[in-house]
């Protein structure tokens, strides 16, 4: 079962997105802030990351840049959810975002994009595994 890390500071959004992805058969881990998400990666390596462009402590672009700068996480596909306004393409490309969903979207679009990115990833290099001895409990929430 593919693992998806979901980052959104809005709890209600997070629950809705998490439910949609879990219903589609993904194991979903969530984080309410960028820093928490980044410090999870060492122990709990997802197959794909979905993040809002605006988060509690860092935006999605910066979050993605940090993930791309780490050799152990740089190949994880990153799906960015942005608001409707503003040119995002250049910033997203600079940060190394794999795909952007801009503006309003329905949950089936999200699930479809996640599925497509994950199937594409199978042909790319797999990211390095997380630490061998994972912690017995995670502070993240899991479906």
């Amino acid at each position: 079962m593919a693992k998806v890390l979901l980052i959104d500071a809005d709890w209600e959004n997070l629950v809705a997105l998490q439910k949609a992805l879990a219903t589609a058969g993904y194991e979903v881990t969530v984080a309410l802030s960028g820093s928490f998400a980044l410090t999870m990666l060492e122990w709990d390596r997802p197959d794909l990351i979905v993040s809002l462009s605006e988060n509690q402590d860092m935006d999605g672009y910066e979050l993605c840049s940090i993930i791309r700068a780490d050799p152990t996480t740089k190949n994880i596909p990153f799906l960015l959810l942005t608001g409707p306004a503003g040119p995002v393409a250049a910033a997203a490309a600079r940060a190394g975002v794999s795909r952007v969903i801009a503006g309003k979207f329905n949950l089936s679009t999200l699930v479809g994009q996640v599925g497509e990115l994950l199937s594409r990833r199978q042909t790319d290099a797999a990211p390095a595994p997380a630490r061998e001895s994972a912690p017995t409990e995670s502070s993240g929430f899991r479906s």
Binding site: S33, L38, E42, W43, T136
Partner: protein, 281 residues
């Protein structure tokens, strides 16, 4: 500007720490290995060291032990960070005199809170804080509280540095002020209450009951299992946890928690405070 050294083999963790602390005008120096860490410690003389426990060459305990064993560096706070924080980790952290342990993953604000507490609790030249209380009047962290006690590596642990009765009262009151702690009491082996603090009260009967529980566990179960002297007894009730920790052969510290998640940190802090409590007896 305070200078903090982050030691972690993960680029991501180093970047999270750099970003969070630099936003607070704290200078951050990084090291990816234990070897690099030693070199940075010698060259940069950081005001605080944050160190991952598991690293490829030297582990975080070794780095912490190095800092705490070096003359002139022993008072530099060390915060260990680890994906696993359990009794074994806390025990080892206490052995190497780490000032605090933080679980990964963590949010930036949690890290900043810890670092602020540790930097403000520094002794001597630090711009802090009489009695270990943060200058901003917030509840003292357990790490700051641990800073109240004389460390084992302090050169002159003479009787003049022992806690007075008033200091003991203050020390217990600060323990009781930690979020999740409801009551702290020092009780002698006969069940007489020596000192207590907190929102709940400790009456004579309760003190006697707790002392009896420790005596029975130590003399009965401990002897049967041949596991040596009893160190601590943890009682879990529906409404919270009671930690009973021996303070030498003559007394014990009872800590009543209404938040079970702080148990690990309280145990760690009690171990750190034991030498001073013993001197105060």
């Amino acid at each position: 500007m305070p200078k903090v050294l982050i030691v972690d083999d993960s680029v991501t963790i180093r970047k999270v720490v750099e970003r969070a602390l630099e936003a607070r005008s704290i200078q951050v120096v990084s090291a990816a290995t234990g070897g690099e860490a030693i070199e940075r410690i010698e060259r940069e003389a950081p005001d605080l060291v944050i160190c991952d426990v598991i690293m490829p060459d030297q582990d975080g305990y070794q780095i912490c032990d190095y800092v705490k064993s070096r003359p002139g560096l022993a008072k530099t706070p060390v915060l260990l960070i680890s994906g696993i924080v359990n009794g074994t980790v806390l025990e080892r952290a206490a052995q190497v005199r780490s000032d605090d342990v933080m679980r990964k993953p963590f949010a930036a604000e949690e890290l900043v809170r810890k670092i602020d507490g540790l930097l403000s609790a520094r002794p001597a030249e630090a711009p802090a804080v009489a009695g270990g209380s943060p200058a901003d009047g917030t509840t003292p962290s357990l790490a700051a509280l641990s800073g109240l006690v004389t460390r084992a590596d302090d050169p002159v642990p003479d009787t003049s540095s022992a806690l007075s009765a008033q200091d003991l009262k203050t020390s217990l009151a600060q323990f009781a002020g930690v979020a999740g702690v409801r009551l702290v009491a020092l009780v002698d082996r006969e069940g007489f209450l020596i000192e207590s603090a907190g929102e709940a009260t400790m009456d004579v009967e309760l003190a006697w009951a707790l002392a009896s529980a420790v005596a029975e566990a130590g003399e009965g179960i401990g002897r049967e299992l041949t596991q040596g002297l009893l160190q601590a007894l943890i009682l879990e009730f529906e409404g919270g946890i009671v930690l009973l920790h021996t303070v030498g052969p003559a007394a014990m510290l009872a800590v009543v928690l209404n938040d079970p998640t702080v148990l690990g940190k309280v145990r760690y802090s009690v171990k750190r405070a034991l030498p001073d409590l013993l001197r105060a007896m």
